[in-house]
Symmetry: C2
Subunit: 205 residues, 2 copies
Amino acid sequence: MQFPSKLIEDAVNAFATLPGIGKKTALRLVMHLLQKDTENTQYFTDAVLKMRTEIQFCKTCHNVSDEALCSICTNTYRDKSVVCIVENFRDIIAIENTRHYNGLYHVLAGLISPMDGIGPDALNILSLEERLKNGEIKEVIMALNPTIDGDTTIFYLSKLMAPYPVKITSIARGIAFGGELEYVDEITLARSIQARLPYENYLSK
Amino acid sequence: MQFPSKLIEDAVNAFATLPGIGKKTALRLVMHLLQKDTENTQYFTDAVLKMRTEIQFCKTCHNVSDEALCSICTNTYRDKSVVCIVENFRDIIAIENTRHYNGLYHVLAGLISPMDGIGPDALNILSLEERLKNGEIKEVIMALNPTIDGDTTIFYLSKLMAPYPVKITSIARGIAFGGELEYVDEITLARSIQARLPYENYLSK
């Protein structure tokens, strides 16, 4: 694609570096900004650049934060005896939006992946051990994606945490609410039969 | 959606103002930038802001340009007797990419649309008349979208240009190359039969 202006070309290429945005979509975004006032673009670029340069990662749980400690870790109403282990902060947003979890988090910032050469040292695991040594944590919930990497990470962490007096749990796997049996994959269906619950437990959920 | 950080929230909202980008996609883009270096985001925001603040519109044809006159208008190899009228600069990019047009352009920056309250005064029509008065232009090609607004604009412009000694043409409508007859809409098919060409003309295209 040829562009009538180097400025347009640079902006299109800049947008096209973002995931899921090709040259045509990038051009549409550039045209949108051109149709609006300059202040509009100024506001957009300011917000994005400010986010990237001023963002901090919580010293305790590695969640994104505006300050040295995140709003979840500093919240005195939250249950400090339960820690939920997640892959990244997007999972925290998802869990927080359920409004059914009142404990703390620990962001690994990835999963152990031998295929991609990502070992335990590349993740926030050392700081997790430090938190466990503190003794305040009674339960650790594994909320990792049910992939090979996720299962590998859960296995590694469960070995690591064995010496500490903590209860290790995992979020429940099964058929989603509203899901239809005939469309569920075989592994999920088989495991949800094996891990069946007493009817009373089901009702209480 | 609740966000763990005001900075993230602002950046997500900024991305979500762009067309076709919702909050979830915006969050994915923000996460992408967070995974890359700060310089990466700096490059992105610089390119976008520079484009918006430094862009100029060609004084002659209103195409986007890095200077007061665009690279097409200042190109001495182009045929200055033919002017192609387009809705916006994206159409110029599309036509330029065919490499089969060597004339000049005139960007209207919109179409006459009584429904949306857009009259001829809101478009770059006065400057088109100035160009016609010059006398250098021998042919005007209408390359507007075949919508009601497009046809209204073509009708208005053809009335306006009637006093000038210029040939007025329109880009050909018909069945796209590679298009299959059975999937073509009725109006296009009917008109392409009415406007049928001698076989020799067809071959020469």
